[in-house]
Amino acid sequence: MRYGTAASACFALLRRDLLLSWRRRGDALNPVLFALIVVTLFPLALGPEPNQLARIAAGVILVAVLIAGLLALDTLFRGDYEDGTLEQLVLSPHPLPLLLASKILVHWLITAVPLVLAAPLLAAMLYLPADVLPVLIAALALATPLLSLLGAVCVALTVGMRRSGMLLALLVLPLYVPVLIFAAGACDAAQAGLPFVAPLLWLGAALALALVLAPLACAAALRISIT
């Protein structure tokens, strides 16, 4: 029996996941709606004073995106685990890290990219200064794939658990702390008129590292939780 090449397997997986998401395209809006609502809550709680909101805007948007990503993590393997596809992936002759990397890529495209695209809207709602917006978007563009990759490792450990929501938050959030610090650091520096490139470079370096290591770790974690 012939299995085809690893590249063709990844390609087929990408196509399948994208198609599945397209069939349920309404779901892609959920993280954006969630972030939108969370951001709406802050002016209601803190008062509509523009200066105050502008000062916390970048941080609030980053946290909203982070939590939206956390809530969306569960869907990464849930469907595939329930219908047995995930076991077939683990059993397949192709390298599991590559297959998982394709899955994570699609998950990032579906759940995180809409959030990055919605960032200008969120920024406008909180009066973020216009010159900080490009930095925020750059930080988000680097941070969200990093969050997806780190989250995938943890969600692979909890796959198959019925009520994993709170536990997943406990596992994932400590790992998200450095990402949040660097992303917020870049935005803060830009807002204060200081050089902001260094934290962005840190994020980029972490992303490069995670791109290589996280799929491997994710595969190892998945092999532990699917026995």
């Binding site: 943890c154 450990l157 770790a217």
Partner: protein, 252 residues
């Protein structure tokens, strides 16, 4: 097989470890209490008051050894986790998981004593300083390991998953530490150094080291006791565990 490997494999056998740990633990506990009593006497009574903080500094005799232990235990847990994942040794899994609650307890003690000291000295219970924040994140990592271990039904699979998380965590600890350090810092640097002279007076150093030794002994003793219980629970159906239980109850 050479002697060292043989000893390693013998130690890894649950019945042997159970007996050995049972014999060692009381002595270790006794040693810990003895050293802690001597160290605390030296620290709370003999050592002179600080010229700036007067008697308030004395909390370091609890705070600093606990802080050392909070990191040390994480390291021990990660080493055991690594052994458990690579060589699939059951005892290493048990030891790694037994480390987590002890480490979490030391972390809580560190944070609590730090807060109690911080209130009169810094004027606040808590500040978002690098060391405090990374210690807090360390506590969350411990809680994550414990939480994951408790959440999975199959004990061995749970131990492997939690061990994996502990390994990811140890990569994260230095990253968190340096990122928050870069972000904001108030906590003083280290005064006790392994290499070179320490910036602490000898009259304060020796009680500190004694208490540190006591916490190490206490950790090992506590680890052995916890691992014994966990091993019995894990191996409940085996012959040696039943024999052990019958011996403990005094029935044949």
């Amino acid at each position: 097989m050479n002697k060292l490997t043989l000893w390693f494999h013998t130690l890894g056998s649950p019945p042997y470890f159970h007996r050995l740990a049972g014999r060692l633990a009381p002595w270790l506990f006794a040693g810990a209490v003895l050293f802690a009593a001597a160290g605390l006497y030296g620290g709370l009574v003999v050592a002179p008051p600080d010229y700036q903080q007067s008697d308030a500094y004395r909390i370091i005799f609890v705070h600093v050894p606990s802080a050392w232990m909070s990191l040390f235990i994480y390291f021990v847990m990660a080493v055991n986790a690594f052994i458990a994942l690579v060589w699939r040794i059951k005892l290493a899994e048990v030891l790694a998981m037994a480390c987590a609650p002890i480490g979490a307890a030391f972390t809580v003690i560190t944070l609590a004593t730090g807060a109690i000291w911080g209130k009169p000295m810094w004027g606040t219970w808590w500040t978002w300083d690098a060391r405090l924040t990374s210690e807090l994140v360390l506590l969350f990592l411990y809680l994550g390991v414990i939480g994951l271990y408790q959440a999975i039904e199959d004990r061995r699979q749970a131990a492997r998953a939690a061990a994996f998380l502990a390994l990811i965590g140890i990569v994260n600890v230095p990253i968190v530490h340096f990122s928050v350090k870069w972000w904001n810092t108030l906590h003083q640097g280290s005064t006790v150094r392994l290499l070179g002279p320490s910036a602490i007076d000898a009259s304060m150093l020796w009680p500190l080291l004694l208490v540190a030794l006591a916490t190490k002994l206490w950790f090992v003793a506590s680890l052995l006791v916890r691992a014994r219980v966990e091993l019995l629970a894990l191996e409940g159906g085996k012959e040696w565990a039943r024999a052990e239980a019958q011996r403990a109850e005094g029935t044949p």
